[in-house]
């Protein structure tokens, strides 16, 4: 019995059941105000039972019930052509592609910066404070400006969003990789010195392999942040597609169910991306001799 409870799928499932249970309760609580107002205006007799069933089936609820979101998800994922503007597959695909392009750009930038910082003392002193300062700028505030400025020079669509993702996700990679590239044991470094190894040999044969655990830890954080960046990039007016645009139109028209389905698709994408990263990490670690 204990083993059953400790297995991951069971644990996840148990938590899910618990959350859904709370959710239904919260839906009654949050929607009841609007409903009771309505009953009193229309002077209808109402019972608790009616309140419960109504609060779980409103058109524009404050908090939609799980089954409403589930139905909307089913409708917008499977009952549409995937090229349709009503399909969440279409919107999700757009967000994923700018997430991945942004992640790629951010990773390359982050790794290059880390290599520079570890090898050049001047860069170590001059660049790191700027990198940290860059992350204090609230991205929500400058995202519309980035979109507008890049739009003015003719860059629209995927690239501006990918830039925002890259801007957000290079940071954990720089920090993680600076630490990772500096992680080799002093003895391992001394050994290289006794061989009269060049800096590039030390990098390729010691610093880089030693940093892989840090690289994957950073990747896992970054890819999730990259998704947030892509969604934020889709929020400003002008983005007509993507999960961010779905969130925005949903809130314009009070379509809370639509907002929630977009959010759920976004979190499923994030979980999948992080899971894929962990899987890649396992493969790499196995090839590097780790016991898994």
């Amino acid at each position: 019995m204990n083993r059953l409870l400790n297995s991951t799928p069971i644990a996840v499932l148990a938590l899910l059941v618990f959350i859904i249970f709370i959710w239904y309760g919260a839906a009654i609580y949050l929607n009841s105000g609007v409903l009771i107002d309505k009953y009193e205006r229309q002077k209808t007799e109402w019972s608790f039972q009616l309140l419960v069933s109504d609060s779980w089936s409103m058109g524009r609820p404050v908090l939609p019930a799980p089954h409403q979101i589930f139905e909307d998800l089913k409708k917008s994922l499977f009952d549409q052509k995937i090229t349709s503007k009503r399909s969440l597959v279409y919107h999700g695909g757009i967000t994923i592609s700018s997430t991945l392009v942004g992640f790629l750009m951010g990773s390359v930038l982050g790794i290059l910066l880390a290599i520079g910082i570890v090898h050049l003392p001047t860069l170590n002193k001059s660049v790191l404070p700027w990198i940290i300062a860059s992350q204090t700028i609230p991205i929500l505030a400058i995202a519309p400006m980035i979109i507008v400025v890049l739009g003015a020079i003719g860059l629209t669509g995927l690239l501006p969003k990918a830039f925002i993702s890259a801007y957000l996700c290079f940071f954990p990679i720089v920090i993680g990789m600076v630490k990772g590239l500096r992680s080799p044991d002093p003895m391992h470094l001394d050994l290289m010195k006794t061989y009269n190894a060049t800096q590039s040999q030390i990098f390729r044969k010691l610093r880089w392999p030693a940093s892989t655990p840090f690289l994957f830890a950073s990747f896992k954080v970054s890819i999730a942040i990259s998704l947030v960046g892509a969604i934020v990039g889709e929020l400003p007016a002008g983005a007509r597609a993507g999960l961010g645009a779905r969130l925005l139109t949903g809130s314009y028209y009070g379509q809370t169910v639509q907002i929630w389905s977009a959010l759920i698709v976004a979190s499923v994408i994030a979980a999948t991306l992080v899971f894929l990263m962990s899987y890649m990490e396992k493969i790499v670690q196995k090839r590097m001799g780790a016991l898994i």
């Binding site: 003895m187 391992h188 001394d190 050994l191 010195k193 006794t194 061989y195 190894a197 392999p209 001799g289």
Partner: protein, 261 residues
């Protein structure tokens, strides 16, 4: 250039570390000549500068005074020339490389051809009796085996000088005895010049042609004892009168250096 058989010459070598608590005299007035084919043990209590002296010769530290030559060159030139192999206190194997991968590391760095690499790693593995363990990762080996791999790694590029910093210090006595006997045979065959740091009197007496007794604060050489043992030795020699007398002399040297206070 002096006598070409001089591998290490040190005269009045000093090393002072500047620390937050003021200068620390790590080594003071070290005079030491090592000839080709010598097996020299450095013995003394912790903090007497044995390892530091080894690191000076390896150019991992720089002396603050005196003259130090390795193969007639500055230690830095000797290091750039890859004149020595260094064996650390712990095996210092790269965990992401297999045994063969670790042995090939110096060869890759020195640009040895692929076919030659295979040949040399095979020979080195044979020398330390580890044939058959090529594909294992370090964590799959015992401590003694890991240390043997680390010795083999220093042998792959065939340096004439081996600098060994308590290579068997972390091992239990049984494994240590085994490796001592094995390593003595290896030295007998190759006659490499070895500079060997140790804490153990029997180990120093068994392996060495000369034993350098050091004492701490500041680290200096107290006495250099020539071994009277025959070159061919097995572990049984440790039961002989000669061996016991040699051990006694080492212990006396240590006591004279106030190592037991």
């Amino acid at each position: 250039m002096k006598d070409s058989s001089q591998v290490v010459e040190a005269s009045k070598v000093d090393l002072v570390f500047q620390t937050a608590d003021g200068p620390v005299h790590a080594l003071s007035g070290i005079d030491l000549d090592i000839n080709k084919g010598d097996f020299i043990s450095l013995i003394g209590p912790s903090g007497c500068g044995k390892t530091t002296l080894l690191r000076l010769i390896a150019d991992l530290e720089k002396p603050t005074g005196g003259i130090l030559r390795v193969n007639g060159m500055l230690p830095e030139e000797a290091r750039l020339n890859r004149d020595y192999g260094y064996v650390f206190q712990s095996p210092a194997l790269y965990p992401w490389r297999t045994v063969v991968g670790n042995l090939k590391l110096p060869l890759e760095i020195m640009g040895v051809e692929k076919a030659d690499q295979d040949e040399r790693t095979r020979e080195a593995l044979e020398m330390v009796d580890l044939t058959g363990f090529e594909k294992k990762f370090p964590w799959q080996l015992s401590g003694g085996m890991q240390q043997r791999v680390s010795i083999a790694r220093a042998l792959t590029f065939n340096p004439d000088l081996l600098l060994m910093d308590e290579p068997f210090g972390a091992l239990d006595e049984i494994v240590r005895d085994q490796l001592n006997e094995h390593f003595h045979r290896l030295w007998e065959q190759t006659h490499k010049t070895v500079l060997f740091v140790t804490h153990s009197i029997p180990e120093a007496a068994y392996l060495s042609t000369k034993i350098v007794v050091m004492s701490p604060r500041p680290g200096k050489i107290n006495e250099i004892i020539e071994s009277t043992l025959p070159e061919k030795r097995t572990l049984d020699i440790r039961e002989t009168q000669e061996f016991l007398e040699l051990s006694q002399r080492i212990r006396k040297g240590l006591r004279a250096g106030k190592s037991y206070d």
